[in-house]
Structure formats: structure tokens, C-alpha cells
Point group: C2
């Protein structure tokens, strides 16, 4: 849960004066998201989300994110549409932080993943990849394979903390990195990927997928890597056993709109290893560096280490139901 | 901010099946309130708040609170109206906790108090007191003067923690209690009071007061004590100097609907001392007993100690602009 910056009613009124979206009706902090401060905002013209970008987001990158969201929404994807101020600019400032208003999306994110979610999820991911083709600006993946060694080194600067979390963890990750990075595919189709499509970023109304949110990790990278992130985020049971039916259904949903090449299919194990590595490493870093009194729930990196072990043992794409 | 209990989409769907309020459209945790878990809920028929009552609220008292809210709303006060399920019962269970749906109120709570807020605030408080007259059930104030000695004793069981917060604090509070409790008025008009009407429980749209929320400290007690709580909560500047213009305006708003008797007026100093004492003591107890890693922001009891000092020095009602 997170609202890092509170917004005074006076600051809000002054901010809204720069928009043509009607008068203020209601304003409440939203207890979701861990990177930014989000508020539900109602005006006489409708419902919106107001986001204040906190320190984890580079302000210079915000135009790329907002431009991508506008592009995807214009292409028919159900994602937040940035609302421009009277001067045509969607990115503004509030309480000393970059801020933007986006449209409100209906739906509820699934707390318990069901097989029924996986086909629409796969299809939405393919739709995102296809719609992104005509958005020209690129953004490098700052959390891609070239960053992982440095991320691990940063955590291992406190070896006792890593060891306390899980004996032998540092060595295990180092060995896995030494296997994954050299094997990382070089010639697979790239494009704009969401890169963080976890269940809390996907809204459903019943079996219908009603929207995708939180594009602030989006970047230009291997398209199938986005699938690998979803395989990690959606296809493990709470006991961390792998649900191959979900994987097969997710992939079938994806391939109904964008069939995978043989090279993409056979890269699924290493891409999934990399996705598990990426979330293990960022969680490990946060785990070690989050003060115990912080108002953020730390996520246990060991959950992703167990996923990593599954993918390291996956011989080929048949492990994912293909 | 607070959402203590997350509600799965499946549990929510099953819960909503017991209501005739249409289909689910959206559901988000609200990052406000520190006692219960609150969610903003949209259905095809409108907007609601779903509250899960956490351990601080006695389930046996919930029918009294919900009954009072229904009574006040029916009398025209803008407060949350409990929504009954198909069986006519507004109090139900969700995720193992008592739960209720109430109507959504427009408005924004004032982060910076302005003089313009004080007259509508006083008038709304008087309206609440007048509307409450015809609600027959009573609820004792469990945080009234008879509880204060015990509350202080509980904190002083850890004298080093109290002393660390403010040297001499225990003795100061004990001496103040010895003065306030014997002087507590016995024959003032009583009725149902809100007892926690802080700015974050009062919504405004511009200068218009659009609603009162959070009735879970409401009880049957001296009506003018509710005014004293508001004098504490609304009439001090951020530097804790007293703003007598706000007090005068608040009282004028109140008296426009319910004039105070001479006895009520002359009791304002001791009632205000008591109100400051009550919040000093509960904040002190929470300060000492909240683990440093808890996801709740502790409120500094010393802010109310300074208010208490102001009220102890108030000779009579003229200190409040009367």
C-alpha cells in the first residue's frame, strides 16, 4: 500500500485549474502500488487516477511512458489514457513531484489466479506487443541482463544479510547468472514490453480482462521476455509448484494473436530463468535495503529463487506446455 | 493509511451476491483511516464504501453505530448510509470480519484548515446533535473521564518510555487529571456525539460541507464535549497556537442551530481540557505500544499535551471567543 505524498485540497484545486475536466467531486488515496502515490479523483466529468511520481521513477523518462500509454490506448488497448492539461501537456507538477492524471479503468485485480484468467491475459499481452509496433521511441531495459551482475554485487556488499536470508544464496545466484547471461538470446523479435505484468496490474470483470495498468517498467526488449515474466507471475501456485495448464493457456491466448517463432519457443526456458533472476535480484536488494520500520511490505526474494530453480531444470519449451 | 485485510475478488463476488446493488465494476483499497479496512466499491448502481471492521471495534457495538448512521442519514444529515443486504441486514461478515457497505459521500477533507470551514463545521455538529435526539439506544463513552486514570496507569507501567518521550510527562498528566476529573460537569445536556470529528472525518466541496464520516467512536455523552473535541481538532495552528477566530466562528455556526446554555458555555474550558487529555492519553498509549515496524504512523501525544496546557490556562469561555 502506498501514498507517499499527501496532496492538500488547496494544491489539488490549483492543479485542477490547469485542466478542462470539470469541478472536483471527490479525492481519496489508493492503498495500492508501491512505487508512486496514487489517488482516485472524481470530477463532474468522470473518474480519473492522479499519480505523483516518487523517486524511483526518472522524471526524464515519464514522457516516454505517457506517450506509450497514449499510443496503446489510441490503438484500442484498455490502459490508462493520460489526460492533457489545457496547454496540451499531460505531464505536470504537483507538491514538487511530476504528476499526471489518467483515465479510470473498471475492474478488479485477481487475488487468486484462475485458469480462466490466462487466455485473456496472453491475448492482451500479444495485443500490447502488436499495438506497440508503431510507437517509434525506444527505452532500454534498465533491469535487463546487463544490470544483473551489478545488482547482485550491490546486495553481496552485505554478504551477512544475504547469507542470513538463505545460506548459500549468493553463490547460487552467481552460478545461475554465469549460466544465464552467456546463453541470453540475441536475435529474437523485440518491441515495447510491459515488463511488470503481475496480477495486481491486470483488471478483470468476471472472465473479461478490463484493463492493464502501471506501465512504469515498460521498455524496449525481447517480446518473448514479457511472456516469460507472465509465466513467472501467473503460473505458479501459492506453494510454488508450476501449473502447466495455466502456462499452456496463457501461451495459446498469446499465439491466437501473435504466433511465436521456433526460436522464441525454444528460448522460453532461458527467458524464464532471466525473468526469475530479475525479480529475485530486485527483491533481494529491496529486502536488504528496506529499513524494518518502512511502511512498505517487503517481498520475499526466496519466492523467485524457487521459480528460478524450476526454470533452470526446464529442458525445453515442453516444460511450459508447448 | 490502512488496509489491514485484503479481500479476494472471489470473496467479494460471493459477498455482493447477498446485496441487490448491481454488478461489480471496480474495487480499490483506500489509503485512509487507521482503525478499519476501507475499500472504494463501484457497482452498476453507483458508488459505495466497503468497510471491514478490524480488532479495535467491538462487533457487538456495530449495530448501534450502523443504526445511528441510518438514523442520522434519514434525518437529512450527510453521512454514510448503511446499505442492507437482500435480507434487510446491513451488518454482515467478509474474510472473517464484520463488514458493511455504506453509501459514498462526495468531497475532500481539508488538509489545511481555513476559517471558512469552521462555521459549516459548527452547524453540522449541531445538526448531528439535534438529529440524534430521536435515536433511542444509548452507548456509553468508553473513552470518557472514568477511563482516563486507567489509561494513564497503563502507559505509566512503562515509566521509562513515558519519561523518554517527555521528561516529567507522567507527573504533569497525573496532576492535570486530579484537577479535571473532580471538576467534570454533571448536569449538562447529553445526547449522541461524534466524539472524533477531526478534519479527516469532514468532507468539503469548496466552502460547502458535503459530509461527515467515521462514526465508530460515537457515543452518548455531554453534547458540549463534542464541541470541545472540535475546538482541539480544528482551532490550533500547525505551531499549536490557538486561533480564537476559528473557535468563535465554529461556536457561532453551532449556536445558529443549537444555542448553548450558560452552564455549557462556562464548562468549555474543563471540557476542552478533558478532550485534550483524552487524545493525549490514547496517543501516549499507542505511542508506547506501537511496534516501531508497524505500518501505522504514530501520532505524537505531545501535540495534545500542548493543547491541554492552553486549556488549563483558559480562565473562562472568553478564551474561546464567547
Amino acid at each position: 500500500m502506498a501514498v507517499y505524498t499527501d496532496v492538500s485540497d488547496e494544491a489539488l484545486s490549483a492543479f485542477l485549474a490547469d485542466y478542462d475536466i470539470g469541478g472536483l467531486v471527490a479525492f481519496r488515496g489508493i492503498a495500492e502500488g508501491v512505487e508512486n502515490s496514487n489517488f482516485s479523483l472524481r470530477t463532474t466529468t468522470g473518474d480519473y487516477i492522479l499519480t505523483l511520481y516518487e523517486k524511483r521513477v526518472d522524471p526524464l523518462e515519464l514522457p516516454w511512458f505517457l506517450g506509450l500509454m497514449r499510443h496503446l490506448a489510441a490503438a484500442g488497448l484498455s490502459c490508462p489514457l493520460p489526460v492533457a492539461g489545457s496547454d496540451g501537456e499531460p505531464l505536470r507538477e504537483l507538491c514538487g513531484r511530476p504528476a499526471a492524471i489518467t483515465t479510470f479503468l473498471p475492474g478488479v485485480w485477481p487475488r487468486r489466479i484462475k485458469l480462466d484468467h490466462c487466455r485473456p491475459l496472453g491475448a492482451a499481452l500479444a495485443r500490447l506487443h502488436l499495438a506497440g509496433r508503431t510507437y517509434a521511441p525506444r527505452r532500454a531495459n534498465t533491469l535487463g541482463p546487463t544490470s544483473w551482475t551489478r545488482l547482485l554485487d550491490l546486495s553481496l556488499a552485505r554478504p551477512e544479510a544475504v547469507e542470513a536470508l538463505s545460506p548459500g544464496l549468493g553463490g547460487t545466484l552467481r552460478a545461475a547468472l554465469d549460466a544465464i547471461v552467456p546463453a541470453w538470446p540475441r536475435d529474437l523479435p523485440t518491441g515495447h514490453i510491459h515488463a511488470d505484468l503481475f496480477p495486481d496490474n491486470v483488471f478483470f470483470l468476471g472472465a473479461h480482462l478490463s484493463g492493464l495498468i502501471d506501465f512504469y517498467f515498460a521498455c524496449t526488449d525481447i517480446l518473448a521476455y514479457d511472456i516469460a515474466i507472465c509465466l513467472n507471475a501467473w503460473c505458479f501456485e501459492p506453494d510454488l509448484s508450476f501449473n502447466i495448464s495455466r502456462a499452456r493457456t496463457l501461451l495459446a491466448g498469446y499465439e491466437s494473436l501473435r504466433p511465436l517463432s521456433a526460436a522464441e519457443r525454444s528460448a522460453l526456458p532461458v527467458l524464464s530463468q532471466g525473468a526469475a533472476m530479475r525479480f529475485t535480484l530486485t527483491r533481494l536488494y529491496d529486502w536488504i535495503n528496506t529499513p524494518s520500520g518502512a511502511m512498505v511490505t517487503r517481498k520475499d526474494p526466496r519466492d523467485y529463487l524457487r521459480r528460478l530453480r524450476f526454470h533452470l531444470a526446464a529442458g525445453d519449451e515442453r516444460a511450459y506446455g508447448l
